[in-house]
């Protein structure tokens, strides 16, 4: 593009893509064992920065176990052993010297069921920043609460009742509060484990729109059972089956012309 040549739109997009894509997370040969059972089998993949990567596959295929490896949530599960390396901005997060608490401020997580703390909306958001010493005054706190709620698309709905309990909100609002709570510590990656599975279609659409906004600043990895959702929100999709990564490609390829027969069977509903 530097020589000011006129190029076709498709070529322009390719050039744009190739220059703007940067790898955020490198997964190398990750295996996870629950006791003797291998739940995730030798997964390697690159996660691009400022993109949404969807993980799809039937129940028990290892996608949730895998996503938990990325912020070392499996550490809290008894009998769970993780092998392999995950490089996050060039740091191997499986290195024992890595500060897990710090890691989880950089790699936030949103779960299947909204789980706000039994505290006010305000306190839900400032809880972690206070703990990590990211805010030092009331004004900073207020600013952060407003910024986080705006990013999570919830500010206008709750601005007049920040002292109300987080659990008093609707399901969709609670989930957005959890997203606001996650972004309050400014993570560069957000992991989402079926974030819309307990929400109605309208609340789901709001979250999906939010994901589209969030990826401008952050990298998102989402586990979903809803294939239409994966198709709608993500740039890349990975299909897991029996702990193995069967196919990982552009979402468009996975849902229109997958290379693997197992992927085709799964996405067309011929194989569970």
């Amino acid at each position: 593009m530097t020589d000011n040549k006129i190029v076709s739109i498709s070529k322009f997009n390719k050039l744009k893509k190739s220059t703007s894509t940067k790898v955020k997370i490198v997964v190398q040969n990750i295996s996870v064992f629950y006791g003797e059972k291998k739940a995730v089998d030798n997964i390697s993949m690159n996660i691009n920065q400022n993109e949404v990567t969807s993980l799809i596959g039937p129940s028990g295929c290892g996608k949730s176990t895998f996503i938990r490896c990325i912020n070392r949530m499996n550490d809290v599960i008894e009998n769970c052993k993780v092998e392999g390396n995950i490089f996050f901005d060039k740091t191997n997060i499986n290195n024992p010297s890595v500060d897990i608490v710090k890691l989880r401020t950089s790699i936030g997580m949103v779960f299947q069921k909204p789980n706000p703390f039994p505290k006010s909306i305000y306190d839900n958001i400032v809880y972690a920043p206070r703990l990590h010493g990211l805010v030092s005054s009331k004004d900073e706190e207020k600013e952060l609460v407003e910024k986080s709620l705006i990013e999570a698309g919830l500010f206008n709905e709750v601005k007049d009742r920040l002292d109300d309990s987080g659990t008093s909100l609707s399901g969709g609002q609670q989930q957005r509060l959890c997203i606001a709570r996650a972004v309050a510590v400014n993570p560069s990656v957000i992991l989402m484990d079926e974030p819309c599975s307990s929400l109605d279609p309208v609340a789901t659409a709001v979250i999906e729109e939010l994901i589209d906004e969030l990826k401008k600043k952050r990298t998102i990895i989402i586990v979903t059972h809803n294939m239409q959702q994966a198709a709608r929100v993500s740039e890349k999709t990975a299909f897991f089956h029996l702990g193995k990564l069967i196919e990982f490609s552009d979402t468009e390829v996975i849902f229109t012309k997958p290379k693997e027969k197992q992927t085709l069977g799964y996405i067309t509903g011929r194989y569970g």
């Binding site: 294939m227 849902f255 229109t256 085709l264 996405i267 067309t268 509903g269 011929r270």
Partner: protein, 253 residues
């Protein structure tokens, strides 16, 4: 699509689409046969029947459209299922157009049937035969989901063009030789043009079968030799200046 869906209703919906395509295709095939017969036997009743039966094709086409919309709304197909429904819709559209061309041919046949029986009418048999064979074969390729067969039929369009070119030349010559032939020949030209268009629609159907089965566009999958050969065969060979020379000679006589 040998493997079945977990939801059986999905398979039966896809089967309904296939059934509907075969219904339309069956009617269109018989329309073409009736056209051929109506032309050769100068049978006005049969020609009227073809014109009347076109409504059946339109009705089936509308039903297929409804089935497809229902399937999109209820099943949200992906990958080869999605290609199947989209391709079937496009195939149905081509079939519907072929139905219209058959109706046009029947109208010309009706006109020709009113000519005195002793007046010779130029035969379009050769073009008709190629069209009929290709049409039948493309239906088989669709049902058998056979991209190799589809590709072969796609190439056959060059033969259609060649046969059209010959008929076009013959018709012009006939008209030049004797102006009394002009009336019947103008109808033959219309028939030839409609048959040539049917050839194009058949080629489109072959393209869609190939796309559904492979996920690729046929023209992107041709080798440079194949493409070169096809392009050279597809070109019309009739030299208009030669025909004018002939016309001048006839005028002198």
């Amino acid at each position: 699509m040998v493997e079945k869906h977990i939801v059986k209703g999905f398979d039966s919906d896809l089967d309904s689409i296939k059934e509907k395509i075969n219904n339309i295709s069956g009617i269109v095939e018989s329309q073409l046969s009736y056209c051929y017969e109506a032309l050769n036997k100068r049978d006005v009743v049969l020609a009227e029947k073809v014109i009347e039966r076109d409504k059946q094709i339109d009705k089936h086409y509308q039903e297929l459209l409804d089935l497809s919309v229902r399937l999109f709304a209820l099943r949200q197909p992906f990958a080869n299922d999605l290609r199947y429904v989209i391709s079937s819709l496009k195939i149905a559209s081509d079939l519907e157009r072929i139905g219209d061309q058959a109706k046009n041919i029947a109208k010309a046949a009706r006109w020709l049937s009113k000519l005195p029986q002793n007046q010779t009418v130029l035969s379009s048999d050769s073009l008709f035969n190629i069209i009929n064979t290709n049409f039948r074969k493309v239906g088989n390729a669709y049902n058998e989901e056979d991209s190799v067969k589809a590709k072969k039929i796609w190439f056959k369009d060059a033969e259609v063009n060649k046969a059209y070119d010959i008929l076009f030349r013959e018709t012009l010559t006939y008209m030049l030789e004797d102006p009394r032939n002009i009336a019947s020949c103008s109808q033959i030209l219309a028939i030839a043009k409609n048959l040539e268009r049917i050839g194009d629609h058949t080629q489109n159907i072959a393209e869609m079968v190939f796309y559904y089965v492979t996920g690729s566009h046929i023209e992107n999958k041709l080798s440079s030799t194949e493409l070169k050969e096809y392009s050279s065969q597809k070109k019309y060979k009739t030299n208009i200046s030669n025909i004018f020379k002939k016309a001048k000679l006839i005028a002198k006589k």
